[in-house]
Symmetry: C2
Subunit: 196 residues, 2 copies
DNA sequence: GTCTATAAATAGATAGAC
DNA sequence: GTCTATCTATTTATAGAC
């Protein structure tokens, strides 16, 4: 397995990804990114012509990252319920970051929607990635209306991230995750029933 | 009932409120607000010294607005269940704006959390207003753990707003609202039971 | 590929005339 | 209270040397 040294371009994208998450897209400047990377602003423009170019690269990176994560979960367990648990678990694993900056995917999509930015749809595609994967898991588990359950769960976790960052309330996160797990179990226990 | 002409200050706050909602706090400049109000930038500074000052005024305005709205709902019905329905109903009533720009309260709190802005707590206080009011309604309706139900409902509606703006999916909003109504009914039907 | 220097536009903010 | 003019810092972006 080759382990090439990261190219400057890769470092820029990696850094921009983090800064866009921690501070938002609009509030993060080229100077911020260049300073964090440790290169001059001039060099920066050798790699990316515009701010939108680097946003595109960041979205691509996140798409790849999340795809890899989902593939990982798919391989790690053959039980779709366990896989859904893995999804829910990231809220706990990343709770510190979430309480500071919300969900990386949700907050970017929200911000781009507000800016009426052309990249909104590409950011939404990351959410769609989760939606389709979750839908597949619910389907494999034999649930009815799997895609609606998937979207419900995705929205639920987004709501948890919003309130968690707004209120900085870890107990709330843990309560909601327990609630989600119980809900998932209820869905998979009675695939035809009237569920909420 | 007196109906004084709006002061310039009031118009500025009103306009800033709308622009902060539609475009975000960081991405909205003094020039944007001044242009929309139809005054010079110089005059602007006569009313507000800094951008944070106007943010404070916008948050105050929203706090007052939402307080009045909650009071209104409290007066309009003596049935706490109906009052909760009124809360859920705003997601439908405001669906167009929500699909464009998300929830005004949630997106501002999210953005300020990300910016690590001092006003984050004041923005979160608006969410807390809803939380306490909803908690009171669940309590009046005889539900157990009323405050947790309130926070759950608040987070749920925030999640709906995030996905609605990211995916621009109106059918999703309507499905979730129906789901919320059914959930509320389930909570109030069995105040002691194990609920999800 | 990386740097310095610099341009052009925009941001937040102030001074002072009317 | 409102305006014009101005200031300073920052932001995006380019030119050209090394």
């Amino acid at each position: 397995m080759r382990m090439p040294r990261k190219s400057t371009r890769e470092v820029i994208v990696e850094t921009a990804d983090k800064l866009f998450y921690k501070g938002g897209f609009a509030a993060t400047s080229f100077a911020d990114i260049a300073a964090q990377v440790g290169i001059s602003r001039g060099n920066f423009y050798h790699h990316f012509k515009t701010k939108d170019d680097i946003l595109d690269a960041v979205i691509d990176r996140r798409l790849g990252d999340r795809r890899a994560m989902l593939d990982d979960w798919t391989c790690s367990s053959s039980d779709p319920r366990e896989r859904i648990y893995a999804f829910v678990g990231i809220v706990i694993v990343n709770r510190s970051d979430i309480m500071e900056s919300g969900c990386p995917v949700g907050t970017l999509a929200s911000e781009l929607a507000k800016l009426d930015h052309g990249a909104r749809e590409r950011a939404a595609a990351i959410l769609d990635l989760f939606r389709r994967w979750l839908g597949e898991q619910f389907r494999l588990a034999g649930a009815e209306r799997a895609d609606e359950l998937a979207l419900h769960l995705l929205g639920w976790s987004q709501g948890v991230a919003v309130l968690a960052s707004a209120l900085r309330d870890e107990a709330y996160i843990r309560r909601e995750v327990a609630r989600i797990i119980a809900w998932v179990d209820a869905q998979l226990a009675r695939p035809i029933g009237e569920e909420l």
